[in-house]
Structure formats: C-alpha cells, structure tokens
C-alpha cells in the first residue's frame, strides 16, 4: 500500500493540492479530502481500452493497433485544408506544448474548451485587463466576497472552504463570520442560499445592472432608473455601499456572465467596476475556471503564440479572432474539414449544429473516456489520465502553476507520446 499526500486534484480549476491517495496494487482504493467531483474522477474506472477505428460513423468501431490509429490520425491531419484541434483542458501543459507544435505543422486552428466557458473572459481582459490576485490573498484578506453568475456549491465545491468564504486567514481569523457573502444570480442557487445577500437579476440583464452599479459608484445615481434588470435601485445603492465598505473585496464570476447576452462585454463591464472600486478600497476579480487545467492551456498558448486560444495557424503565423477562429465559428460555417478532439468533449458540450458538422468530417479523438465525441469519431486513441497516471504542470484558476502528481502507473500511452508520434508521422508524410 502506498499513501500519497498533498496530491493534486485533476478536476476543477481549484486544483486542491491537499488530497491523500491510497494506492494498492496500482489501484486507487481510497481518497481523502476530495470533493464529490474530484473523487469521482480519481476513483473512476470507465475507460476506453484500446484504439479503435471505423470509416463509416454509423457502423461499429473495430479495435486496431496504436500504430494504425496514429497513422490514420496523421493522415487525416496531413490531408486536411482546415483542421481543427480542440479540447486540451483535461490535459497537462506538456501536452499543450506538443499540441501547439502539431497545430503549427499542419496549419490547424487550435482552440480549447474555454471557447464554451471562459474565453469571453479573455476577450474582456483584452479590453480592460484583469485586476486579480492569488486565492490566498482572498483567503487572508477578503471581507466581502461576491459570486456573480457562478455557483461554487455545484461547480467548485471546495472553493468556499479553502479560499473564499469559510477559510480562515491572517486578517480573517474568524473565517465565515468575518466575511460578507453576496451572490448575484438569476436563480436562487445553493450558493445563493448560503449568502448574506442575494441579488436576483432578470436573466440577461447583468450588463445593465453592472452599469447601474458603476453609475451609482461614480456619483451618478440620479440617472439610474427605479429598477434595473429587476433589481430595485434602492438595493443597488445599498449594494454599492456594501462593496465600498470592504477592506478587501473579491468577485468570482462564472458562466452567468460569459454565456448570457452581451457575452464578454458583461465581464468587460465587471472589470471596469472592479477597477473603479479600487479608487475606494481594494478589489480583485477572478473567473471561476472549470477544468483543472483550462487556465494552463491559455497560459501556454499565450506564451507560445501571443494569443490565449482560438489560434489559426493556416498561414503559418498565429492569427486570433474568436468569432472567426474559435471552434464553433468554423464548425457552424462547415469550414472545418477534419478535427482532432483531445482532452475535451465537443460532442457533449457544443451546440447540435456543431456536432452535426463533426459527424460529417473525419474526426480523431484522443481521450481516456468514451463520450459523445467518440460517437462522432473515426479514430479513437485512448490515453493515460493526466494528473492521475501522468505527472506534469497545471495552472490553478488564479494562474498559480502546480505540478500534478502521478498516483498510479499508466497502462496506456500518454497524450504526449501519442502527439509526438502523430507529429513524427506527419513529418514523414510530408517527406521530411
């Protein structure tokens, strides 16, 4: 029996690094400190066992060798005039580097799962920057914590305990008692039920409400109508007073902002609110990132290409313009003529029309798990699970990079090995 302490969780953007893992005969038999999400992934055993291929997507897969599958994957990418390489969030940074290199070599668009998650947050950062902080800063200082369009009880179960609400810190010795918790949402979520104040908005009115708060903050309450987005002005004025009274305030936002009408402009506006609050007191704002290393892809892609995601290498140099170069943009335009989906599940998480197009073109899947993407794939290459069977780098939601542990030995090749071999094969096909 082996006990691994201070292990890191490969599920959500919290990347909790205090897990204890019990391993017996290369099997994880017990886990301590993990939430339901982390435990389910680390303890899960539903895997694709061998590489598979099929020509007709309506027929069944046949098991093939890794050589065959890798060759076919390389052929598909090599022949494609508009390949899309999508996914990456459930993989380590070492995988991202290999992926970006391959995308360069085959002239692909590379995009990650942020495209249906927090890519709008990055678009907002282009406009306004990102006044943020590491989570420990929040833990030690934050006396007003706002969750806006985010629901950590469901999506980031240990966030409140470890960092933002219940955690005790240097200047927040009392934990929960020393902090005011505000939830802004369209539903009274379980997170909202735990808040000191719940501000309920009409769906899609975030942008208007944030502007109203900014107007009040800047001394122009007179122009704000009696109700904005279903919230009485009186409550907005009181909310501004509460925000201003903080010594250190923090706002954590989620898909409620990125996916509603106005998309990234909601976040753009929220960042301005935070910037303006800093004229009164200290405030930071942070996206609640979903996958444990979706942040890492953005980091690696940015330092390697200058752009965080949705990078089009068709012309050899990076070109970036979500709305034009993001995964759903090119799928919906039926432009993509081949796709590689790795460490992300477009089949499950893209709109039906995008999946319809995937069903029409050659698709290579690299993933440990059978999922809707498998259903629309021609070539499926199973791999080891990053962060459980493979060690390497992941970036927590606040940009802190951490080294994920290997808990057990893999029985399948790693993403890095598979991508290396595909790249090698592409070079051979090109006659290099």
């Amino acid at each position: 029996m082996t006990i691994i302490t201070d292990a890191l969780c490969p599920f959500c953007g919290c990347v909790c690094d205090d897990l204890t893992i019990i391993v017996e005969n290369n099997k994880i038999t017990d886990i301590k400190n993990a939430c339901k999400l982390g435990a389910s992934k680390i303890m899960g055993h539903h895997r694709i066992k061998a590489p598979m291929m099929r020509a007709d997507k309506k027929s069944d897969f046949k098991e093939v060798s890794f050589d065959e599958a890798i060759n076919e994957a390389a052929q598909i990418l090599f022949k494609s005039k508009r390949p899309l390489m999508y996914g990456w969030a459930s993989a380590l940074c070492e995988v991202h580097k290999k992926g970006i290199l391959l995308a360069e070599e085959v002239g692909a668009i590379i995009d990650n799962t942020a495209t249906v998650c927090h890519a709008p947050s990055t678009l907002a950062v282009h406009e306004k920057g990102l006044p943020s902080a590491t989570l420990g800063q929040v833990k030690n200082r934050s006396d007003v914590t706002v969750f806006w369009g985010s629901n950590p009880v469901h999506a980031h179960p240990r966030h409140m305990g470890r960092y933002s609400v219940f955690a005790k810190g240097f200047f927040q010795e009392k934990g929960r008692k020393g902090r005011k918790v505000i939830v802004v949402d369209v539903r009274k979520t379980e997170t909202a039920a735990m808040a000191d104040e719940f501000v309920q908005l009409q769906q899609g009115s975030d942008y208007l409400v944030i502007s109203a708060l900014r107007a009040i903050l800047s001394g122009h309450a007179d122009v704000v109508p009696e109700s904005v987005g279903g919230v009485p002005k009186e409550q907005l004025v009181k909310l501004v007073d509460t925000l201003k009274a903080a010594k250190f305030g923090s706002i954590f936002f989620g898909m409620g902002l990125t996916q509603s009408i106005s998309r990234y402009k909601n976040i753009d506006n929220a960042i301005s609110l935070i910037t303006e609050l800093n004229a009164f007191t200290k405030y930071v704002i942070s996206p609640m990132r979903g996958h444990y290393n979706v942040t890492g892809f953005g980091q690696v892609c940015t330092w390697e290409t200058g752009f965080a995601t949705a990078v089009d290498f068709a012309r050899g140099a990076p070109y970036y313009n979500p709305g034009e170069t993001a995964a759903n943009d090119v799928l919906l335009r039926k432009e993509t003529d081949a796709a590689m989906i790795i460490a992300g599940d477009a089949g499950a998480h893209f709109p039906a029309d995008s999946v319809r197009h995937l069903a029409r073109i050659p698709v290579v899947q690299i993933d440990p798990y059978w999922n809707p993407t498998t259903e629309v794939s021609n070539v499926v290459i199973p791999v080891a699970i990053c962060g459980v069977e493979v060690e390497g780098t992941a970036y927590r939601m606040d940009g802190v990079s951490l080294r994920m542990r290997k808990m057990i030995e893999p029985t399948l090749p790693t993403d890095v090995e598979v991508l290396d071999r595909i790249t090698e094969r592409v070079r051979e096909l090109r006659g290099e």
């Binding site: 494609s80 005039k81 508009r82 390949p83 085959v106 002239g107 692909a108 678009l123 282009h126 406009e127 942008y207 208007l208 502007s211 109203a212 900014r214 107007a215 800047s218 122009h220 007179d222 122009v223 704000v224 109508p225 904005v228 009408i261 106005s262 402009k265 506006n269 301005s272 303006e276 290498f313 068709a314 012309r315 970036y320 313009n321 979500p322 709305g323 034009e324 335009r333 039926k334 432009e335 003529d337």
Partner: protein
C-alpha cells in the same frame, strides 16, 4: 481606366483569404500578374488565378481601377483590405473583414457582408445594400480605436457591436442593429434607422441617433430634454456618465 472582373471558378467552402483583391494590388497589372497574386484557402497557399477567373480591361493606377466581383464571394475574406483608392463592386455576398483598414476608395456591395466589415477603417466609403453581421466598423481585439474615418452605409440590418471603439467616421444603418451599438464610441457618428438595444455604453464622445425603438436603455445617460436634429425631434441624452462622457445619444 482599368476594369478587373473576378468570378469564382467553383464553389468555395473553406474560406479564402484574399486581401490581394484590392485596387492597390491590381492597379496597372496584367491579367497574368493578377492571377499570380497569392490567396489562401485554409492552410493551402494558392493564387487568385487558381480560384477565380480574372478578366482585365484597360489599364490604370489604383485610383482608376474598378474591380467587379461576380458570383458568390460569401466565403472570401479580407477583400479590399487596406485599400487606398479605386472601386470594388460586389454583386453578391462577401465574407468577413471587407474593407478592413481601408483608407480611401469605395466598396459597394449588392448583397450581405459578414462580420468586421470596415474594421479599423480610416477613410473611403463602404456601401452595403443587404445586411451586415457583427462588429460593423469596429476594432480589433484589444485596440482602443476601431473605425477612425470614412463612411459606412448599410441599407439592411446590422448585428451586435456596430462601431465598437469608433474614434471617427460615420456609420448609417437603415434597418435595425443588434445590441451595444457605439460601445465605447470615442468620436464617431452612428445613425440607426430602425430599432436597437443598449446603445452608447461607455461612450466618451461622438453621436448616436436612433430613429426606431430602443429596447433597453443603458442606465448611464442623462436626459437633457428634447432637441431637433435635421428637423426631427429627439430625446437628447448625454453620457456615459460613469466616465463623464461627452457622448450624445438621440432617441426618437
């Protein structure tokens, strides 16, 4: 006078990037020279001649060059990018970035234009008889200025973010626009014939005139009273008040 007529040889599915379709690139060139200009289809480097038939009549510099696009260009991007002079007449639809960064000359489109038409435009004129998509006359990611000069006219409708980050120039949309027209307007003029929503957020300068209905007003404008513009009476607002903006918003 030089007239260059271009037609796609076959249906284009994967977008072509053809910033070389521009009077500046065609002016004074022979058919063969134009055919050999580079274009990209996906990751394939090709030539205009491979993708399009090219017919040249007469010869002349850019300013005296008229380009006529016949057929379906709805998958051809970046036409007229950075053009400084001359004329492009498009008889159908075109893809994204039409006339991006153009500083002179004129582009006229019978059909629809996709997003980013007139992006970062500095001068010249763009006329669209059909509809425009997103980011008409807007900027590039992260830039503080979108359109700086020139004139865009759309006879149909436009979608969201018309004139985002405009620093100058004029946009007329006869129909409706999507949300947030004139966002961060910093000195341009936008006239909307139909309806819109959330106009003028974060505007610091410039003018937005809405002749139809405003679905949702931004709560950042000060009502100054009624005012007549070109004989029509509007409610006049100033803002965005958050940044002490001097923008003018007129709503009928």
């Amino acid at each position: 006078m030089q007239t260059v007529t271009i037609k796609p040889r076959k249906e284009i599915k994967i977008s072509v990037e053809a910033e070389n379709i521009s009077p500046d690139k065609f002016g004074g060139k022979t058919e063969k020279e134009i055919q050999s200009l580079v274009a990209w289809m996906g990751n394939q480097k090709t030539t205009l001649g491979e993708l399009f038939s090219v017919k040249v009549e007469g010869s002349g510099p850019a300013a005296d060059t008229k380009i006529v696009l016949e057929g379906d260009f709805s998958r051809v991007k970046r036409i007229g990018e950075g053009m400084t002079a001359g004329l492009i007449m498009i008889n159908g639809n075109v893809d994204m970035h039409l006339g991006a960064k153009m500083s002179g000359g004129k582009i006229s489109v019978k059909g629809n234009v996709d997003s980013w038409a007139g992006r970062e435009m500095k001068g010249g004129e763009l006329i669209v008889e059909g509809n425009a998509a997103y980011y008409l006359g807007a900027g590039y990611r992260g830039e503080s200025c979108g359109m700086r000069g020139g004139k865009i006219t759309v006879l149909g409708n436009a979608l969201d973010f018309v004139g985002e980050h405009m620093c100058g120039g004029e946009i007329f949309v006869k129909g409706n626009t999507g949300i947030l027209p004139g966002l961060s307007n910093n000195g341009g003029k936008i006239v909307i014939g139909g309806n819109t929503s959330r106009p003028g957020s974060e505007m610091s300068k410039g003018t937005i005139i809405v002749n139809g209905k405003v679905d949702e007003m931004m709560p950042v404008f000060k009502l100054e009273g009624d005012e007549a513009v070109d004989g029509v009476t509007y409610k006049k607002y100033t803002g965005d008040v958050i940044g002490n903006g001097k923008g003018l918003l007129y709503v009928k």
